[in-house]
């Protein structure tokens, strides 16, 4: 690990000023990803600014009737919060599906959004990786990629975003708030992650030096009828090979409102708007759910060893929406 200086920030303005425009500085939240990447040599910051004690650890009602979640709220506190569990149950489920109890106690909401891919080539500094070393190539395209992207990837990078939390946030139109030296800003989660293209090393639309201060969840009535389903290679404590956050409002057998987002299939949490449009106004049955999934997955471009994800995601969508429809019928 490279040596670094350490600063504890006590207020947001101070944290932003400390970081300045120093490209070798990093904000430290729970450290569950950053410290690990520093051990691997993937991250080599010269300066750490510890933002864990910033007064951003609250979950509060927002003026619009939604929720404002501070950036340093831990995953544990987010998943345990009564309003999250009652109004956005898929978000609580998504957070609980990620990592372990220990890591959820350390990890923060802001850090979760900025965590890096777990692609084995990205985390191995002896290998090429366009995300880590732009222009060096992507061994995953012709290498080990059974858990890589089927949607929105490019020949330059096929890594997936590992967050579970982000998938539920994408489904519920969350907005990321941040602070810079020039003042505050807001980014809808839909615009937060940049398309891969030929710049996979540029991951978010956050301005240089910005500090995430929180996430705003708008009031989403359908979110009260939501769930998160995650498929992984062991029963617990593993990253997804595919996941779905879904919310469904059925009236008289017809889909009145629906939210769908996919995890572990793209470089970002994948909001399935094509499927949502296909479903809205359709009969709430398995055929319609499958047709909607197929419409979304029509643009999937699987690699030789991850074509199973297309089937997996289709089946997941049908299963989760069927469960929600049956719940609504009770």
């Amino acid at each position: 690990m490279k040596e670094f200086t350490y600063h504890k920030a006590h207020d947001v303005a101070g944290a932003v000023a400390l970081l300045g425009a120093d490209p070798e500085a990093r904000f430290l939240g729970g450290g569950t990803n950053l410290v690990d990447l520093m051990k691997n040599g993937v991250e080599r910051p010269a300066r750490l600014i510890d933002v864990r004690d910033l007064p951003l650890d609250r979950i509060e009602p927002a003026e619009d009737g939604g929720l404002r979640i501070g950036a340093t709220v831990t995953n544990s506190d987010l998943a345990a919060h009564p309003d999250v569990r009652r109004r956005y149950p898929a978000l609580a489920q998504a957070v609980l599906a990620g990592a372990s109890g220990q890591l959820r106690n350390m990890a923060t909401v802001g850090g979760n959004l900025l965590q890096r891919t777990r692609c084995g080539y990205f985390t191995d500094v002896s290998r090429p990786c366009n995300k880590r070393r732009p222009g060096s190539g992507c061994p995953a395209v012709h290498g080990v990629h059974h858990n890589h992207a089927i949607l929105g990837a490019s020949e330059h990078c096929v890594a997936v975003h590992p967050s579970d939390m982000g998938v539920a946030l994408a489904a519920f139109d969350a907005v990321v708030t941040y602070e810079t030296a020039d003042g505050p800003g807001r980014l809808p989660l839909a615009d937060f992650y940049l398309p891969v293209g030929d710049t996979p090393h540029r991951e978010t639309a956050l301005p240089q030096g910005a500090l995430i201060t929180g996430v705003e969840l708008p009031p989403v009535p359908v979110a009260a009828h939501s769930r998160y389903r995650k498929v992984r290679e062991r029963a617990s404590y593993a990253f997804a090979i595919g996941s779905v956050a879904a919310a469904l409002d059925v009236r008289d057998g017809v889909v009145h409102d629906v939210r769908l987002a996919f995890g572990a299939v793209a470089s970002r949490p994948w909001r399935a708007r094509t499927a949502e449009q296909a479903l809205t106004g359709a009969r709430a049955d398995a055929d319609a759910f499958a047709a909607a999934a197929d419409a979304e997955l029509a643009e999937a471009r699987p690699l030789p060893d991850n074509g199973y994800k297309v089937t997996l995601m289709r089946n997941l969508v049908v299963a989760v929406l069927t469960e929600l429809a049956e719940e609504a019928a009770r």
Partner: protein, 206 residues
């Protein structure tokens, strides 16, 4: 990374470099002041600097749970916690769980029910289990909880719940069956002398 042995690094206390510093850690009710390179994890500070070797280093990447300690009462992996960032927090390690000669109920349950084989993961398992029981008592749901809405009430601490909540602690010996029973036993209400009043939880967990 390679294990970092900070003892081999010359640390000049009179003129601290900006990449090291003197910190005070609160561990098991005692204050320890030491100079650390900022790269030192809490795990390495405990084991290599403070002779608190009960906390074990397994993977050193947050994937096995062997290094689990309690920080401000919450379980955390000490291998991903920088020591310098742990200043001011209350840290409890496996050495700090017993009350004098009287073992913590979770420690006693692991002994009584053979919740281990080689023992290497055990300190982490026990620290984790102590927190699991408190998290469950506080009403926290888990990924095994069918209905996470608060109106559904706290889920019973079934074997499935215990397995999910303890999934951040790996045991290469595979002592999981006994570990689940030990956690269920420890979660039961006890008499004043520490005896378990009922074995209903163990039966549910079996």
């Amino acid at each position: 990374m390679f294990p970092l042995d900070t003892r081999k690094k010359p640390i000049m206390e009179s003129a601290p470099s900006p990449t090291s510093g003197t910190i005070t850690l609160h561990i098991n009710g005692e204050k320890h002041t030491l100079s650390v390179d900022h790269r030192t994890t809490l795990l390495d500070a405990l084991r290599e600097r403070l002779d608190l070797t009960g906390t074990k280093k397994g993977c050193d990447h947050g994937q096995c749970g062997a290094c689990t300690v309690l920080i401000d009462g919450r379980r955390a992996v000490s291998c991903l916690q920088l020591a310098v960032a742990a200043e001011g927090r209350e840290i409890t390690t496996i050495e700090g769980l017993a009350d004098g000669e009287r073992l913590h109920p979770v420690q006693q349950a692991f002994l009584d029910l053979d919740g281990f084989q080689c023992g290497y993961c055990t300190p982490g398992q026990i620290c984790s289990a102590v927190a699991v029981i408190e998290e469950h008592a506080a009403g926290w749901p888990s990924a095994a909880t069918a209905d996470v809405r608060p109106e559904a009430g706290p889920p019973p601490l079934t074997a499935e719940e215990i397995r999910e909540r303890m999934s951040g602690n790996l045991c290469r010996c595979g002592a999981y069956v006994s570990i689940v029973q030990a956690v269920a036993r420890a979660a039961q209400p006890t008499d004043q002398d520490g005896a378990v009043r009922t074995t209903a939880g163990e039966e549910a967990a079996a």
